[in-house]
């Protein structure tokens, strides 16, 4: 559990309150939680992407000593029901339900679960299970016969509208300067270092699941729906999560299956899925193809913007990210047309991966902006300045705050941008071609309904309980800081409990909403406590003071004139012992049923770019230097710099880490990461973390993060904008633009590798 004794109010940089647990090995992740005498589960996943299971021979597997049972579609008896697709108001990240019939719908679908006394026995038996398939020709995605293209609008039943304004095609035709190009982004997998694990345990009809989750209330309610249980009978514990990045946000298929296995064996069951299985039993970032057209007048002012994108998804699920919602709103432009389409193929269902809409779509837009700058003979920063706007162009709504150009100016100065020779291939050091590129980054400011319970005891300690999640973002720490601020206590006196569905619900740890959503409600709870103490201070040192002016600070209730009463004495007047309060908050602009939905574990965030009065987002500017070897085309990023404005920064230390990690994610996405698929078999090829390349320490020599001060008054009372997904959005284009500057070659397909620039 979190500890720490340093002071750390909002805006200060205490070390993480859970840091000691993490550096001593005391932090318990899901598969570290002890359960009595667990049986082990091992998944068997399909070796084909489309077809039927023709035969299963269990004999050799069952002969392995220690094997307890084997679950297949033949032995499952409809025990797992439908929890509905999350985007349609349900819980599941995929509506594909393994082990329900003999169909195989994608590579690596769960087709059997072996249960045994020990993990070695379960593994061995899984390898001995023989499955014969009746294979059908699968469609892998783009260019595959049998893949079905539908418009996102159609797929959504009309609830999704492609944003647009004016007549973009006519305006483009008449524009003085025009660029038009196609872009492509690959399949990518989150690959958190913690594997996908589930431990299920039944006690007196009550199910406890230990599983790394970005939304314990969603998982709990989804499981209850699948298993036909009262949600009160399900508990999800997830105190620490070994990275998530979106992969643990929605209910996945394995959990209910492991719960069924545990019920059948009448004994806890533990699953640690393998790394390669993780590529197909959870979600991933969908592959896209995009087309962008930009038209500008001779000054570089945009007159037309067209952005079309197509995203691969599974057969049944209309999952989309539709980043045109963002790219159509960033720059001033009177004529905009967008269109998003989905390509249904024989793939597992994609899902949220860090900055889901923005990452692929901003790669295309910000690459095209660089192409436009080049065509117009303008500095790329100057082009953004000429198209900067305090109103988004689709509905004309104001941004609550926007510091894009201050970010560019701060970043450019720190990077030394003025030294850049704009001509491609003009900068060189020995055998290395040097290129400098930049791009805009943006992430919408989302908010969710949230609840929290705060207990203050007379000895000056506080306990905060809220079912938020620690996925590496520093949530234990920032929530503790909010309570320390609200109650005037040292950070070390605040204990935060999270990651447990028995706690008051907090929203999904997605969309970078949690710091804003949860700190807000915790501050409200603290305010209730302050108000109670202040109302009771009618005698003693604070007699006669206006209760509204009393503040909790440094362990005392204090009046503006300096009069003060120690906390214990103030509490003795107000309560007989501890004071416990519960607070719930629906952020402004969210529908009144948001709390109900939160208690039901539904995903319902607001804010961002969907507001009716205004739009809100954090912005930044990213700068990179690339070096491309003139003979071998080896590509390096010796330095990267981001300048970001995200309202009030609760903890600059952890915020910097988030943004730094985001920038490095951007390097990975631009230069390393792609899940390769065999187009004939629709199967993943490099499903391990030696061949799916993620950045290693040697790939990132120098990363610099700058904060640009920004006052946000509207989004939430604390003025916080989320930033966990801000760092990696602009990086892809910044690197591609730098590669163009270095080599004169425009690479429009990620990742950029040696062969792209040869």
């Amino acid at each position: 559990m979190p500890d720490g004794s340093m002071s750390g109010r909002i805006g200060q940089s205490p070390v993480r309150v859970d840091g000691r647990a993490k550096v001593t090995g005391a932090a318990h992740y899901a598969s570290d939680m002890a359960v009595p005498n667990p049986a082990w589960a091992w998944l068997v996943t399909s070796a084909i992407a489309r077809g039927r299971i023709a035969a299963i021979d269990e004999a050799a597997a069952r002969a392995v000593p220690g094997v307890l049972d084997i679950l297949t579609h033949r032995s499952m008896r409809g025990e797992v029901g439908d929890a509905g697709f999350f985007a349609g108001g349900g819980y599941a990240g995929s509506t594909i339900r393994p082990l329900q019939d003999d169909r195989v719908r994608h590579d690596g679908e769960i087709v059997a679960i072996v249960l045994a006394e020990g993990l070695e026995q379960a593994r061995e038996a899984a390898y001995r299970l023989r499955i014969d398939y009746a294979e059908e020709t699968p469609a892998a995605g783009f260019g595959s016969e049998g893949a079905e293209l539908v418009s996102a609008r159609e797929a959504s039943g009309g609830s999704f509208e492609d944003p647009g304004v004016g007549d973009a095609d006519a305006a483009f035709a008449g524009a003085a300067i025009r660029v038009a190009a196609d872009y492509a982004t690959p399949t990518q997998h989150h690959n958190p270092i913690e594997l996908f694990t589930t431990t299920a345990q039944w006690e007196d009809g009550r199910l406890t699941v230990f599983e790394g989750s970005q939304y314990v209330h969603g998982l709990k309610n989804g499981l209850a729906a699948q298993l036909g249980l009262d949600p009160a009978m399900v508990r999800v514990e997830s105190p620490y999560i070994g990275g998530a990045f979106g992969s643990r946000g929605s209910l996945t298929q394995r959990t209910a299956l492991i719960a069924v296995a545990a019920r059948r064996l009448n004994r806890p069951v533990k699953l640690v899925a393998t790394r390669d299985q993780g590529f197909t039993i959870a979600s991933y970032r969908a592959e896209t193809r995009q087309h962008v057209k930009l038209g500008a007048d001779t000054d570089g002012r945009l007159v037309a913007l067209v952005h079309e994108g197509t995203e691969v998804t599974s057969r049944p699920d209309p999952y989309k990210v539709a980043g045109t919602q963002t790219t159509s709103r960033i720059y001033a432009c009177p004529n905009i047309r967008t269109r998003v389409s989905l390509l249904h193929a024989d793939r597992n269902t994609p899902g949220f991966m860090r900055s889901p809409p923005e990452l692929p779509y901003m790669f295309a837009l910000e690459s095209a902006m660089d192409e436009l700058a080049h065509a117009a003979g303008l500095d790329p920063i100057e082009l953004r300045r000429r198209n900067d706007t305090m109103r988004e162009p689709i509905k004309g709504l104001p941004w609550t705050s926007r510091s894009l150009m201050p970010c560019f100016d701060r970043g450019a100065a720190a990077f030394g941008w003025a030294e850049r020779n704009p001509a491609p291939r003009s900068m060189r050091e020995g055998d290395w071609l040097v290129g400098w590129g930049c791009a805009t980054t943006i992430y919408p400011t989302h908010l969710g309904a949230a609840t929290a319970r705060v207990t203050l005891t007379p000895d000056g300690r506080a306990r905060v309980q809220t079912a938020a999640h620690e996925i590496g973002t520093g949530t234990y720490t920032v929530v503790a800081q909010a309570a320390a601020e609200g109650l005037g206590l040292p950070l070390g006196k605040v204990l935060v409990e999270m990651g447990d569905s028995d706690l008051p619900p907090a929203p999904v740890s997605g969309g970078s909403n949690v710091t804003a959503s949860v700190c807000t409600v915790v501050m409200q709870a603290c305010e209730q406590i302050r108000a109670r103490l202040a109302a009771a201070a009618t005698e003693g040192p604070l007699q006669g003071r206006d209760p509204a002016t009393l503040r909790l600070l440094d362990g005392a209730l204090r009046a503006p004139d300096g009069a003060a009463e120690p906390l214990a004495a103030a509490m003795a007047r107000a309560a007989n012992g501890a004071i416990e309060v519960y607070a719930e908050n629906i952020p402004e602009g969210l529908p009144p049923d948001s709390l109900k939905k939160l208690y039901q574990g539904k995903q319902a965030l607001g804010g961002g770019l969907e507001g009716k009065q205004h739009v809100m987002a954090a912005f930044g500017a990213e700068f990179v230097e690339v070096r491309v070897h003139s003979r071998t085309a080896e590509l390096r990023v010796p330095r990267i710099l981001g300048a970001f404005a995200a309202g009030r920064i609760v903890n600059p230390r952890t915020a910097r880490s988030q943004l730094m990690g985001g920038l490095i994610w951007g390097i990975g996405s631009a230069l390393h990461e792609a899940t390769e698929i065999d187009r004939r078999t629709a199967r993943y090829v490099n499903d391990n973390i030696a061949e799916y390349l993620i950045p290693v320490n040697a790939d990132v020599p120098q990363v610099e993060v700058l904060f640009v001060e920004e006052e946000e008054r509207t989004a939430n009372p604390l003025g916080i904008k989320g930033l966990g997904e801000l760092g990696n959005v602009g990086t892809n284009a910044a690197i591609a633009n730098a590669v163009f500057h270095a080599t004169g070659k425009r690479v429009r397909e990620l990742p950029i590798r040696i062969e792209s620039v040869l």
Binding site: G25, S31, R275, T654
Partner: protein, 197 residues
């Protein structure tokens, strides 16, 4: 660079022939004929963090699974189980080793150090742990035990003289949260303190 794995590979026990014969398995004429997975459990004693732990294990159990599933030493993490991520790194006789590629049986008679064994009896953190904490050299913390043990090994090997060396010799430990620059800073902070200690 992957941390050196020396001769403690899985192949030692699961492979055929000569390598198997050298290991402390129950001996007997039938051994060659019995597939490794069906060999009876063996008893062994592992010395971990200065304490002896008697164990009865199947010969194919890895050191990582022995630590986590048989001894409740969950600080060592499983991130791939195939030598690709470094999350399972422990020290054996002071050298960094991937415990997922090491059979528990081959670690008998050696001194094993896990993350649980680094802090002093009074709870004082090892200089490397302290530096990771102060430099915010982690986010989710899952790779962290492996990073810290690998970092200690890196310093002891003399591979922490320059930041370029640290980056190279720490590249066998993946961090998906990408705390890399802070990890380098932590090692630079801890190195002189380790050398003084």
């Amino acid at each position: 660079m992957t941390p050196p794995n020396r001769d403690l590979g899985r192949r030692g026990l699961l492979g055929a022939g000569a390598a198997t014969a050298a290991l402390p398995l129950p001996s007997g004429p039938t051994q060659a004929a019995v597939p490794p997975q069906q060999r009876p459990d063996m008893t062994l004693t592992l010395r971990i963090n200065g304490k002896a732990h008697p164990l009865t294990l199947a010969p194919r159990v890895t050191l990582l699974d022995a630590l986590r599933e048989h001894l409740a030493l969950i600080g060592a993490k499983k991130g791939c189980d195939q030598g690709q991520c470094g999350a399972c790194t422990v020290l054996i006789d002071g050298h960094r080793v991937l415990s997922c590629l090491t059979l528990a049986a081959t670690a008998e008679g050696r001194e094993i150090t896990t993350i649980e064994g680094l802090a002093g009896p009074d709870g004082a953190l090892h200089p490397m742990q302290q530096a990771f904490l102060e430099q915010d050299a982690f986010q989710c913390g899952y790779c962290t035990p492996g990073q810290i043990l690998s970092a200690i090994g890196c310093v002891r090997e003399g591979h922490a003289e320059r930041p370029e060396d640290i980056r190279e010799y720490m590249s066998g430990n993946l961090c998906r949260c990408a705390a890399y620059p802070n990890i380098v800073a932590a090692i630079e902070q801890a190195k002189p303190r380790m050398e003084r200690a």
